[in-house]
């Protein structure tokens, strides 16, 4: 390369990089989806009616506020003019609704929104309307009440309560557990605001009142963040001196989907018996067993002794992190032999962590896996006994060296193999552009003609390694679900939900399950759905908060269509012979323009997922997928596959709103013109009038002038709405995941000659 060429190529690279950066910065990630972001209050008392104000993202044309339990119902709040007040609902909580965590969501133009926790409690509830940022303005609270509040930015909320000496008062705050972004700090201070006790780790304050008097509660965020997304439910409650400390209810972590095992009952559980920290103090047990214990006090080690025979295989499962405790259980099993007067311990197995069955995304620059963790710090493993005799199992908490919390409980099960599985699913994420680390909450709000993919992950119990078929039922009209099974010995499958182009607007709670043959018996297990609590656009700047959902609402918005639909040209089973080449012609239904001429597609589905990425045109209405079955080494059988990739759509947000706004604008203009005409007429009349008539005419002129002013303001407002609608409807580059409809393939055995 000569110098000139070198300069040119460097310039080209720089230009390409700049171009790429420009393109990247101009792109948004993922098409708009309806998201319910806040409700105020975040819950209510059993048997009450509560006025709830909501905020959300792209949730226009609201129809309903819906709840995951039929005991909670809502209707729009009507204003004094009889019209619904925007974003306000009257929510009725039936007296037989179970207390605890429920979920709220709205049905909007684009479909059903992501959900927000709505808690039902038994105590009196109040709502804080104004921040109270000083001791002097502290909001008085009754003991045994719950306050729904939002944190002001860079400030502390103050509350006061009266208490008597020796009363045991619990001050607790639900925040992360009800989807808030807040890391709560709770402080009880004296009447002058001098701090007495503080809790910053998400725990509750257990306060024995030292003297009769007024006390101040301070609440703030660990780093003094604030705003509508930093909401909380603060409880001040008196409890008996000897009552166990119970916390406000909380959502379940994703990891907890694998707990408990099916048909699990704690009725046969036995408690651990302290002291059992040392080998000499080992608690004798017989297998199988189910033990309840706690990692308490600090550096607690629980030692259990049992007799086992060479060749025995036992499965050990511990739940603690999955019970919501911040623990990291670890087990060592050792064989005990005696040499003279000494014991000799031989390690049999060391168990820790249920590893995520699929690689999850690291905290690096770009995605390298899903942003969900199906694993756990708990234990699920196998003990193969190598020698007859006495064995000891020591259970400890790798996080427990210095922590003294008796609530760090665990459940230890040792059992003979009971092969089984547990399933969890989440909407597919993938890297959509350089460095993309979005972790958006993705409600199932389908556009006509779109296919949405879900990753399904199995935690397999006790050696079960068979294939798992996936299915989804109770779907809204026009929506079909096809599961790409989890193959034998593997952990990941795909569920595809497709809305027909003409699928009507609708929503239904779906049933999602997996089916497998275990020891010759068909076993069906539910698949739980996980989602992000917030639409996190960059997981570097905001740590995502995934959780399990209460149920699986599936909806079609009915107002928008997929930018492109890709499907096989015929809805049939495509047949080919093992080792041969299979060609599947694809049809494209293009509904929007794209940035770029082609899109790279990869394949989902066992037997085909190693298909090399291939390009299809984003301009043409057809393409072809070619599979070299010899290279893929796909064995004869029936397969379901789909293609996926990403493309940058020229997306226009709610163009219908422009038409409506234009109409409204024209109408406002017409009304203003009418009023102007009326004013003109009255002015002429007034000129001709005299005496009392003139006075009357002047009054009328004044009245119509007011009307004109209002009409002009209405025109300006309508113009602004039109302008906003037009702006939103301008084509915008948005990159999103494109998934084809599923394709059925049958591979026949090659003929033997």
């Amino acid at each position: 390369m000569n110098n000139h060429q070198h300069v040119v190529s460097v310039a080209a690279i720089i230009a390409a990089l700049l171009g790429a950066a420009a393109t990247t910065s101009a792109q948004s990630v993922c098409l708009p989806a309806p998201r319910l972001l806040t409700t105020m209050p975040m819950g209510g008392q059993l048997g009450s009616e509560v006025e709830v104000t909501i905020t959300g993202q792209t949730i226009e044309d609201l129809e309903q506020l819906l709840f995951s339990h039929p005991g909670i119902t809502a209707k729009p709040k009507l204003g004094t003019d009889g019209n619904p007040e925007p974003n306000k609902f009257m929510v009725t909580i039936a007296s037989d609704c179970p207390p605890g965590i429920h979920e709220a969501r709205v049905m909007s133009r684009l479909g059903v929104s992501s959900s927000r926790v709505f808690t039902v409690g038994t105590l009196v509830e109040v709502k804080q309307d104004q921040p109270a940022t000083t001791v002097a303005t502290a909001m008085p609270l009754q003991v045994n009440s719950i306050c729904n509040a939002t944190l002001p930015l860079r400030a502390v909320n103050h509350y006061s309560f009266e208490a008597k000496k020796s009363q045991r008062i619990i001050v607790d705050c639900a925040a992360k557990g009800i989807d808030s972004k807040m890391n709560p700090v709770l402080i009880i201070a004296d009447a002058e605001g001098r701090d007495l006790v503080v809790e910053r780790r998400g725990g509750a304050l257990d306060f024995t009142v030292p003297d009769d008097g007024t006390y101040v509660i301070k609440v703030h965020e660990l780093t003094f963040k604030g705003g509508a997304e930093y909401f909380y439910r603060l409880v001040v409650q008196e409890v008996a001196a000897d009552a166990p400390l119970s916390r406000l209810p909380s959502v379940r972590s994703v990891s907890s989907f694998s707990w408990p095992p099916a048909d699990f009952s704690r009725s046969a559980s036995t408690p651990e018996t302290e002291p059992n920290n040392k080998h000499a103090q080992a608690q004798k047990i017989s297998l199988p067993c189910d033990i309840t214990g706690s990692f308490f006090p600090a550096a607690d080690v629980d030692t259990f002794e049992f007799v086992a025979k060479k060749g025995d295989v036992w499965w050990v499962e511990v739940a603690s992190e999955r019970l919501g405790r911040p623990t990291d259980a670890s087990i060592i099993v050792q064989h005990v032999s005696v040499e003279g007067s000494d014991e000799k311990l031989t390690d049999v197995v060391e168990l820790s962590d249920i590893l995520s069955p699929v690689k999850r995304s690291s905290n690096g620059y770009a995605y390298d896996g899903p942003p969900y963790n199906a694993g756990s710090a708990d234990i699920l493993g196998k003990v193969e006994i190598k020698e007859d005799g006495v064995h000891r199992l020591q259970l400890s908490d790798l996080f427990g060296g210095t922590r003294n919390d008796p609530r760090n409980e665990y459940c230890l099960i040792v059992r003979k193999a009971a092969p089984d599985f547990a399933l969890v699913a989440w909407a597919l994420h993938m890297e959509l552009r350089n460095g993309d680390r979005n972790a958006l909450s993705k409600p199932i709000a389908l556009r006509g003609g779109s296919t949405m993919a879900f990753e399904v992950v199995a935690v397999r119990r006790d050696g079960f390694d068979g294939e798992i078929e996936l299915s989804m039922e109770d779907l809204p009209t026009g929506v079909t679900a096809v599961g790409l099974k989890i193959p034998a010995g593997q952990s990941r499958g795909i569920m595809l939900l497709t809305a027909q182009q003409d699928a009507p607007r609708g929503m239904h709670i779906a049933k999602f399950s997996g089916r497998a043959m275990v020891d010759g018996v068909e076993v069906i297990r539910p698949c739980q759905m996980a989602s992000m609590a917030w639409p996190v656009t960059n997981a570097w700047s905001e740590i995502p908060a995934p959780r399990l959902l209460a149920d699986i609402p599936v909806s079609v918005g009915g107002s928008e269509f997929a930018a492109i639909s890709i499907a096989a040209t015929e809805s049939k089973v495509w047949e080919a012979t093992a080792g041969a080449t299979l060609q599947v012609p694809l049809k494209h239904i293009l509904r929007e323009d794209f940035s770029g001429a082609t899109m790279g597609l990869k394949a989902f589905g066992t037997g085909f997922d190693r298909t090399p990425k291939f390009d299809v045109s984003l301009k043409a209405d057809q393409s072809e997928a070619v599979f070299n079955l010899g290279t893929l080494k796909t064995v004869p059988g029936d397969y379901l596959i789909a293609f996926y990739g990403s493309a940058v759509t020229k997306y226009r947000y709610n163009p219908e709103a422009v038409t409506a706004a234009e109409f409204a604008h024209k109408r406002a203009q017409q009304e203003a013109a009418d009023v102007a005409k009326e004013a003109e007429r009255l002015a002429q009349d007034a000129t001709a009038a005299s005496g009392d008539q003139k006075t009357e005419a002047e009054k009328a002129i004044q009245a119509v002038a007011e009307k004109k002013k209002a009409a002009d303001a209405a025109v300006a407002a309508a113009a602004k709405r039109l302008q906003d609608a037009k702006k939103l409807a301008q084509p915008k580059d948005i990159v999103d995941i494109i998934v084809s409809e599923p394709i059925a393939i049958r591979i026949k055995p090659a003929e033997t000659k």
Binding site: T133, R154, A155, V156, N183, V185, R194, D195, V197, V198, R200, R201, G202, H220, L222, T223, F224, K225, A299, V301, P326, D328, S330, I332, E350, S362, N363, Q394, S396, L398, F399, G400, G401, T402, R403, A539, W540, S541, I543, P544
Partner: protein, 748 residues
Amino acid sequence: MTSRDMDRLQRLVPWHLVGFLLAMLTGALSASAGELERTVSFVNDVIPVLTKAGCNAGGCHGKAGGGQNGFQLSLLGFEPQEDYEHLVLEGRGRRLFPADPDRSLMLMKATGQVSHGGGVRLVATSEGYSLLRQWIQQGKHFNSEGEPDLVSIVVDPARGSVKAHGYQQLKSLAHYSDGSVRDITGLALYECNDDAMAEVTDAGLVTASDIPGKVAVMVRYQGKIAVYSASVPLGAPVETLPASRNFVDELVFANLKELGVPPSPVCDDATFLRRVSIDIGGRLPTETEAREFLASADADKRDRAIESLLRSPDYADYFANKWTALLKNRRDDASDITSNFAFHSWIRDSLLANKPYDQLVRELLAATGTVIANPPVAWYKRVKDPKSQIEDVAQLFLGVRMQCAQCHHHPFERWSQDDYYGLAAFFSQVGRKPTDTRGEDLIFHKRGTAGSKNVKTGLTVKPAALGDNVGEIAPDEDPRLRLADWMSGESNPFFAKALVNRYWKHFFKRGLIEPEDDIRDTNPSTNPELLAALEDHFRKSDFNLKDLVRVIASSHAYQLSAMPNEHNLADRQNYSRYYPKRLQAEVLLDAFHQLTGATTSFANLPAGTRAVALPDNSYNKSSPFLRVFGRPESTSVCECERVQSASLAQSLHLINASDIKSKLATSNGRADRLSKEERPDAEKIGELYMVAFSREPRPDELRIALDYLAQERTDAAGKPVDKTKATRENFEDLVWALTNTKEFLFNH
């Protein structure tokens, strides 16, 4: 070196043999019969000469990574075998020339006969030169059969009293394994722990200055150390002493009596309240507090003021500020904010709850989990390397500096590399897993046998706590817990001592041992009995930090006036008066706010947050005030990172900086408010003095202030300034003048 090694050497350089024979011959001709009887030992004779001459000092040939000009010696001769090889094998054999020892490069360089970057280190007529020469002549033996090992050294006298400007000659003796004793006075190295108090010559002659107190001279020889401790009495009559309120007083006053240093009287109430509020709460007393305190006739009002301060969150904020800087709570990345806030708050809340100190340290050392669930984990985010971990832990919690021992035997201490790696082994089972936060790991105990590899020997060293055996640690046990057990154990000689010394320094400006985190046999306390009593008290109180503060602050020793009497001006270490301290950056800024009524808005914190409550160093960037007054950047476990010295920049800042001006003129600030209030100026001046100094103005001060306030002001053109504006500016000037007084800037 074994004889086989020697053979190998001599086969490599056969002419050495010739030289050896020649040397034997010429030596026999020139040396006396007596000299020939003793073979010069490389280890016991040559190395001490090289050390005394400074050849193997860190700045010379002892410098790590090659020494000087291609000639490397081990630091201070701690590795004689390596030194032997460097001298004998390297340099193409030119360094030593047995055939004509005086022409050996080593001697020619050392005497400056050929160019030597280190200058003349030996003169040809010196005893050292003659020893080296003799060693070369005798054949450069590494050692000889039955050569004794050095066992210990002693200095005579070990203790004593030297009058001001008086002398004391020290005699140093080396004791060997065969029972022999050698006078090493001329070969040993001497170093005084306080050069202002005494000087010591190379020959061991100690000269005291006129500063009374305790001084120590460290004597070093071949890795062995001895200490000469001297008291330098003032000898003034000590007729009256304040009443003893507790053991602190008894031991401080006993020392003063012994030295003949009469203490200043106990300070007045105003001084006490201001002093104790700053030292415990990191703030000035409020006007109301000051007036109530001065008006109170309660006999125990000082003790009650201490109790009130200890109960207040101000105490927790102020001491958390101290600890978080030492524990390196640094903001290097915007994403550090959560862990930094959590860590700072953990310390602050622990102090508020008066968590026992041993428990606090235990939770830090053995932290596991995530930062949010267990904030001390954040320390492992800041201090990642096990070596840094033990160095920080040793210096901060034990007052022991281990850094040297990573590569070589500690020159002033007994710590070896095995001690270093034995301590590092406690941290060898710290497991890490990445979290969703960039750069932040969760910490867990990784099962396994703890051990750390000594990089020098290549051997794995088991956990050992500075020479103490902590027993076998099972693979399941977190060794850090065992370290924490050892630290708070009854026989631990460092842990409690380091803390009480650190806190003593906080209140008295000077530690009983200085620097406060360099506790070693060779750096003794200025009042060992007091240090021992404080240590004992702290341990018996179950490491109760508030109680320690209470004991110190309630003593009359702490409450002495800062004004010297005719005798104790020179006293700098016996606490015969209170040594004034410049307010530290954060306290000064808060005091400035308190007086002016202004505030500083700190990012991510509520309005009105005090500077002493700032969680990390990131606020230094936006506050020129904090920077110029030396707020630390949390990069070091040493309190010395906080700059407490005065500088021109500080003076200029207070006099003329724009942020100071704007604070003085802040709307609704104190000057603004006072200028608008309808009450006598004398009352307003009283308010200012009460806030700034916790006292009423003296008559002369009041007169000056009243005269100033009554002055009319003119603008640049000489025209009278509007009266309202003039009054406000006069008050601003008055506040400005008060903030620039030493009485305001210092705790006294």
